[in-house]
Chain length 126, copies 2
Amino acid sequence: MVPVPAPDLETHLDPAIAARLKRNADGLVAAIVREHGTGDVLMMAWMDDEALHRTLTTGRATYWSRSRGEYWVKGATSGHHQYVRGVALDCDGDALLVTVEQVGPACHTGTHSCFTDELPVGGVAR
Amino acid sequence: MVPVPAPDLETHLDPAIAARLKRNADGLVAAIVREHGTGDVLMMAWMDDEALHRTLTTGRATYWSRSRGEYWVKGATSGHHQYVRGVALDCDGDALLVTVEQVGPACHTGTHSCFTDELPVGGVAR
């Protein structure tokens, strides 16, 4: 996959919020998605200013698809909607924690969470 | 902050795991850090192959610091150690979910989690 940079379009994101974002070279911040209620971490996706604006104002999780080069309202094609219950920015402004009510599986593979590939951890116990 | 790409050093990461990673242009994957027990999302950091290898084999969360351009064993200077209880890779190989026992606050600002800046969410309720 060759990432497509987010478009340099005019956004309606509140300038006070925009000023707190630290975007990567493609103009994006990471969005970590957590399930309301269970607290399960479901997936990670990416937002530019406009995707964040749409997420905050519509209450529907909206990402920037780096592979397709377009905005992506989660569930628009799959029906696996994400209704946003909260969004928090981290201390250095490059990651968002998005709390959602998830309809159906969050992962395009059909699993509840995208994080299903457990790696072996060794080393010293505490 | 100008990100420093991870070094192109020889790593001892298991080739079967390395083959599943989809690194960004700087050779990094995102590491989402979750607290064992509470499930709280604490922070996001970055790992290259060698940081992941060290994390998996030592059981101590180890990241690549993009600002300092060096490996960073969480807690080495602050005492706020992270003892790794699990690591899972996501479906497209560009994000890790690291479950840790966190000693003290995870955030360098002194808060439990880095995600403390709540943004206003409006829009239609479900």
